[in-house]
Symmetry: C2
Subunit: 481 residues, 2 copies
């Protein structure tokens, strides 16, 4: 039976009045994760890790379709490697964890825990790439990385996180840059189709680019508080790491040339994006493709009526055979407790089955995304649920897309920018391209440039939102996680 302590366990802060606490509550109380013993570390509990496994499977499939192969490179990197690319070391050195000892013995060379693997992979590529025949080389690894952040939040920013990092090498600059753009498209499709997440994609400013890249492309997702979450980035690295690690190939023309590279990554941050883009006052709301439980069956009164329990199991079996991830909640708890439990955990479809339902040949269905409740004929329940899951995914994407579109505000002045930001919006702005204006906006409003707008056609007809000089770019500014 549900009691007060059970209700307390499931209680989460109000999403409208305290979004930050709501996020923490959802993370912890839906048992996605917990805090690790070392400050800034987190534990992926089974429910959270299962979401990551589903994201991984979908991403991995798409990478392989692009001719990418998986490999695994060492986590420990000589500290000196980091130094070889000037911008790279400047960007990462302050947050790099360093191994100095093994047992009681001091190491002769300090080792760092990979914050990203351009350097160690660059070192191996220089061994493996000798001829144009060895190109393109497209490898990916699923790995943990360590970046020591001062302020941490589950999934969004933790000292250690899980991600994939793709590292590619090509004979030409064009191919390498095209790879960065292709993978950005792959990420966008993954976000749209698997996470039901609309994203803005485009090039990033010099200030916001990856330390060591020639150009960085990003995908930005709008959270329900109007802030942006950088949800994936791809980098065109030019010859920067090839020069630092001597990655050269003998070209068809008989001359030795540096390889051109790209790298790209998505991480467990995507789980944070799902929580904040789709969640609501009842908790998590999971897009069906990444829901570890897509449908929960709640037998009503099965203690008194064994037929209810039996039918519930039969239906579960039929759904499972059709590829639906389903569970029957047989716990000795009230239906109300169970409804709350699974709603908090964002399960897309709840199916209730009682003796009366069986007699009428129906099941009561409740959608998590809309809270609509209706009946569905037992005959044809498998097709009905499968279709419903597809419909939920589409609806979740459309809802998030409508929200995003309605929260992008064109701004011409700093005052307009402030009003837009304070109202929980992205700013669609024109910008002169100077770092000083980005810094000023950051200082004034804690907002940053996110990605260039896909449409740059009229940029030169406008003036910079900050300094009023002639604009060079149309770009999104937003507060960001």
């Amino acid at each position: 039976m549900a009691n007060n302590s059970d209700r307390f366990v499931n209680q989460i802060a109000d999403i409208n009045s305290d979004y930050t606490q709501w996020y923490t509550d959802v993370c912890l109380k839906s048992e996605l994760c917990d805090y690790g013993p070392v400050k800034g570390t987190m534990v992926f509990r089974p429910y959270g890790y299962a979401i990551w496994e589903l994201i991984q499977a979908e991403a991995d499939k798409r990478f392989k379709a692009q001719g990418v192969k998986n490999a695994y490179f060492p986590m420990l990197i000589p500290q000196s490697f980091l130094m070889r690319e000037a911008e790279h070391v400047e960007g990462f050195a302050p947050e790099v964890a360093t191994v100095t000892h093994v047992g009681d013995t001091e190491l002769s060379e300090k080792l760092v825990l990979r914050p990203t693997s351009e350097t160690v992979i660059g070192n191996m590529y220089s061994k493996w790439i000798g001829s144009y025949r060895d190109l393109p080389l497209k490898l990916n690894q699923w790995a943990n990385v360590v970046r020591w952040e001062k302020t941490t939040r589950p999934f969004l920013r933790t000292s250690e996180f899980l991600w994939q990092e793709g590292h590619t090498a090509f004979a030409s600059a064009e191919e390498a840059n095209a790879d960065a753009l292709t993978m950005l498209k792959v990420y966008k499709e993954l976000a749209n189709e698997v996470l039901a997440l609309p994203v803005l994609t485009g090039k990033k400013s010099e200030k916001e680019k990856f330390a060591g890249a020639v150009a960085t492309y990003g995908m930005e997702a709008m959270m329900k508080d109007g802030k942006s979450l950088q949800s994936g980035t791809t980098h065109y690295l030019g010859e920067n790491f090839a020069k630092a690690f001597d990655i050269k190939f003998l070209d068809k023309d008989g001359t030795h040339k540096y390889a051109y590279q790209a790298s790209w990554g998505i991480s467990t941050r995507l789980i944070g994006a799902i929580i904040m883009a789709h969640g609501d006052e009842r908790g998590l709301c999971l897009p069906p493709p990444v829901a570890p439980v897509q449908a929960v069956i709640i037998p009503i009164g099965s203690a008194k009526n064994p037929e209810v329990g039996e039918r519930a199991e039969q239906i579960a079996k039929a759904l499972e055979n059709a590829g639906v991830r389903v569970t029957v909640d047989n716990r000795d708890q009230s239906p109300g407790f169970k409804f709350n439990h699974w709603e908090l955990r964002g399960v897309p479809v709840r199916l209730e089955l009682g003796a009366r339902d069986i007699a009428s040949g129906v099941m009561t269905v409740c959608r998590r995304d809309t809270a609509e409740k209706f009946t569905m004929p037992l005959d044809g329940i498998v097709g009905g649920v499968t279709e419903l899951l597809a419909k939920i995914k589409t609806n979740m994407f459309e809802k998030a897309e409508a929200f995003t579109k309605s929260h992008i505000v064109p701004v011409k002045t700093l005052d307009e920018m402030q009003a837009a930001l304070d109202g929980g919006n992205f700013c669609d702005a024109y910008w002169c391209g100077d770092r000083e204006c980005e810094d000023k906006i950051k200082q004034l409003y804690s907002a940053s440039s996110r990605v260039f707008n896909a449409d740059q056609s009229d940029a030169h007809e406008h003036t910079c939102v900050c300094c009023g000089k002639k604009a060079k770019h149309r770009i999104y500014f937003a507060r960001a996680y």
Copy 2:
């Protein structure tokens, strides 16, 4: 065209005269792996990592069938955690890598890179387990661990390696010990059915048990040089870590009790076992379930005859649709070069297709395990290849099993033991149970006790192989990796 340098690339040392160099050659030249820049680290190249992914998928399925769920715990553990279990710290402290700094800042508490995760998981279990209702708790993680070894070899012993570690908690000692035994059985099935690897399983001696366990069970596989490779271990931990981390639950009887635990792991060492148990003078020989390429099609004379290439692709498509991992080798190289290339890489089935084969309605088939060459009707090739793959797996297991059985020698004296070990055998011996005798055997012959024999019935009727006192156990001694 094959040239001398290509042949050199594929050349490996003679397995009979230099097994150690043969192993290294197979690892590197079949492109399973490479050395990382930091001493003792290795890179999993795509071919080697693909084998690991196949092992993972098979193992993960079996774990889930046991009710185990995946999670992920932080890699960085407070150094003080290791100290809490006396034997544990003694066993692991000398090989633990320690993080002392982030950027230029010294950490207030030193952190170690997990050598295994009993401590950090114990810490979390103490938070999550409150009542008997929370038990059993059965979690697994796929992760990297770091153990700084002085002497390293690819796959067998590297500073960082990949593994899975299962950590379970129960209300009773019996359940926890049963879990260790059940998982040992799961590992054995995996070894037998997926890796075609016969293994000896049983309890380990006190000397050989895991640091912190009450009892360790191991699975040992015989390599072709007669040495043993510990290929998986399961541990009954009793209340040791529960006491160190205060993992208590309120039992049905209203009293608080410590939980009983087990843990179990297999690692990328299994790839080393595959190489050394099945490999031969031509290189790797992969069991079909973990072969990234199960069948390679080599078109003969396709440059002159486009039909050959087309038919090869058609057959590949048909095999792929039947779930066979197949590739067509269309490279501009001689057939001999290609044969050598794929034999070195251990691909179970080679299919050759030329104009004459097509005219006769057959394909030439070559088994990697037996080197038999025969023709198979094109009509029905899919069924033929599928059956052949199953037959190869069975044959590989039977061959390895016969080899293992014929290399286990009963020994009554130390002289017999030395002769058996020098002849590349395991010793089936009786032992008094004293650590001194194990130490002496280690010192004299570099051999160690591996696992207790499944049959202990007549142990008391014999005398210790070393000291001649009354025996307590029947146990295998062997040189080991």
